[in-house]
């Protein structure tokens, strides 16, 4: 039985493919304008990598900002649902899930059996999102893939005064012009993101365990700053950016299973014959 989750994010599209409750393939690509064709191509590539045909029967759930653009998905799930499903699957004790994605920060509070109790989102402002980090990586001329570890060791973090991404970008440019080392500037930016996230969490009341998912959670610098501010460990899965797609795949898998059960539960067709026991 095959099931897949397609997470069409604002910046990246992620696919998780499961076979019989085991993740067998994961793919991520920059989101393009034609997300339907892109997602189909990615799904085919994932199927091929595990020796399945294009025509193989796959149950697909979509999630993310572009979830409505996936015609082959049988159900669309909001990011809030899939991020929690994925996070609880990986960390059954999770009570708070932070998702920092390309254009959004979402924080969801769960009760101890995993039912959503409360949530907060950044909604209007890009500060602290993946967009923010990409803008800064361009201003600092560092690959955003390696930004995560750079700045962890900074002894003298810069104080970034601005709140707005656009103004912070100018501030970063002038800090670079003043000759401040990149890792110190980055540490300042991490502090800025961490302050925003921890303020949102505090306004909801901290509940342990805290799990961080989404692409920005790959930045160890940001996670460390959040941990320092919250004085609490933050759990990060190995592939945090895949968690929403995983949640969607898990949902699809359980739907496929239910469907299978339904077939079995159907009354058996009458058998006519003679003799027998």
């Amino acid at each position: 039985m095959l099931a897949a989750g397609v997470d069409v994010g604002t910046l990246y599209t992620k696919i998780v493919l499961m076979r019989d409750d085991v993740v067998v393939a994961m793919l991520m690509e920059r989101t393009t304008m034609d997300s339907a064709a892109q997602a189909r191509k990615m799904l085919d590539a994932a199927l091929k990598s595990v020796g399945e045909e294009h025509s193989a029967q796959v149950e697909v759930f979509s999630t993310g900002a572009g979830r409505k653009n996936i015609p082959f998905a049988v159900e669309q799930k909001t990011d809030y649902i899939t991020m929690c499903t994925g996070a609880r699957f990986l960390y059954p004790t999770a009570r708070m899930v932070i998702d920092i994605g390309g254009q959004g920060i979402r924080i969801v509070e769960l009760d101890d059996i995993g039912v959503m109790q409360n949530f907060r989102t950044n909604d209007k402002c890009s500060t602290g999102t993946g967009c923010f980090l990409e803008t800064m990586s361009i201003a600092l001329n560092v690959e955003h893939e390696i930004m995560g570890d750079l700045g962890l060791q900074a002894k003298n973090p810069c104080r970034v005064q601005s709140i707005c991404t656009v103004f912070a970008e100018s501030e970063v440019v002038s800090l670079v012009a003043k000759g401040r080392p990149k890792d110190e500037i980055l540490a300042g930016l991490y502090g800025m993101v961490a302050t925003k996230v921890s303020t949102m969490i505090r306004s909801m009341g901290l509940k342990r365990d805290v799990v961080a998912v989404g692409g920005v959670a790959r930045s160890r610098g940001i996670i460390k700053h959040i941990e320092d501010l919250l004085k609490c460990e933050v759990l990060v899965p190995k592939y945090p950016h895949m968690v929403c797609a995983l949640g969607a795949a898990l949902g699809a898998a359980s739907r496929a299973k239910r469907k299978g059960q339904n077939i079995q539960a159907q009354p058996q067709a009458p058998i006519a014959g003679t003799g027998g026991a």
Partner: protein, 267 residues
């Protein structure tokens, strides 16, 4: 003869006004650059040249704006709220202004004046780029349209296009998306103006919009921006001949007043 100068060091442009006996005799507008002190000196020299005066003729200088404490020229610095109100009073006295809407390079302000034209209340946004001059500038660049052409182009708009997001970073992607979807440039530009006007109007309504309403700052030169704001607020706007130098004019007037009160010292 009393010669004073007002230096308004904005985030994007520096504005200098030189006054002789309370009359504007020369001004300069130049990009702020990274050295505020150097820029203010350059601006002052340009304005003095226009006024056919020299630095030694100046009796008192008041600085204002974002970099007001960085310049070494000034005898005194004053907040841009006060300077803006003084400038508006001086320039638009006969109109009986009660509300000032000002868009700066990195901030937006709405100032309420009481019946004696003193500052009664104000709101300021300098935390977020949404609705500021920067918003207009960045989106003009995204669209590949020169900033000064935005106003005239937007007047040709025939179809309403909405910018649905607040954040400038998100608006940049939304505008690029609208362009790839084939929306007309002028319609998108009109949408951008409307988005800024909406934000300003929300802020203005918090202070209370009383007529007459004065609109200044660089973007007030943009006819499309003026129209959008008039539509949003539902009142006609009074615009200065040179909307960019209102705050610098205010600073120069304050300098002039200091000398009249006898508290000024010679430079």
């Amino acid at each position: 003869m009393v010669v004073t100068a007002g230096v308004d060091l904005g985030s994007t442009y520096a504005k200098v006004v030189v006054m002789k006996d309370g009359v504007n005799v020369g001004f300069a507008v130049l990009p702020t650059g990274h050295d505020h002190d150097e820029t203010s000196k350059k601006g002052l020299d340009l304005a003095l040249k226009a006024a056919k005066l020299e630095r030694k003729d100046i009796n008192y200088i008041v600085s204002t704006g974002y970099g007001r404490n960085i310049t070494t020229l000034a005898n005194e610095s004053i907040s841009e709220i006060s300077a803006n109100a003084w400038g508006t009073r001086h320039i638009a006295m006969k109109y009986g202004i009660r509300t000032i809407v000002d868009i700066g390079g990195q901030d937006t302000k709405v100032i309420a004046l009481d019946d004696n034209l003193n500052v009664a209340d104000f709101r300021m946004n300098d935390k977020c780029a949404a609705g500021t001059g920067r918003f207009l500038e960045v989106l003009a660049k995204t669209m590949g349209v020169p900033l000064q052409d935005m106003g005239a182009l937007s007047l040709q708009s025939k179809k309403k296009v909405e910018i649905t997001v607040t954040c400038l970073v998100f608006a940049k992607s939304e505008v690029s998306n609208l362009m790839t979807q084939g929306y007309a440039k002028e319609d998108i530009i009109a949408g951008i103006h409307r988005a800024i006007a909406k934000r300003l109007a929300t802020m203005a309504r918090k202070v209370g919009v009383r007529r007459e309403v004065f609109f200044d700052g660089g973007p007030a030169r943009n006819i499309g921006m003026r129209k959008a704001l008039e539509d949003e607020l539902g009142v006609p706007l009074i615009i200065a001949e040179m909307p960019q130098i209102v705050t610098a004019t205010g600073a120069a007037i304050i300098a002039d007043n200091r000398l009249k009160k006898g508290t000024g010292t010679l430079v």
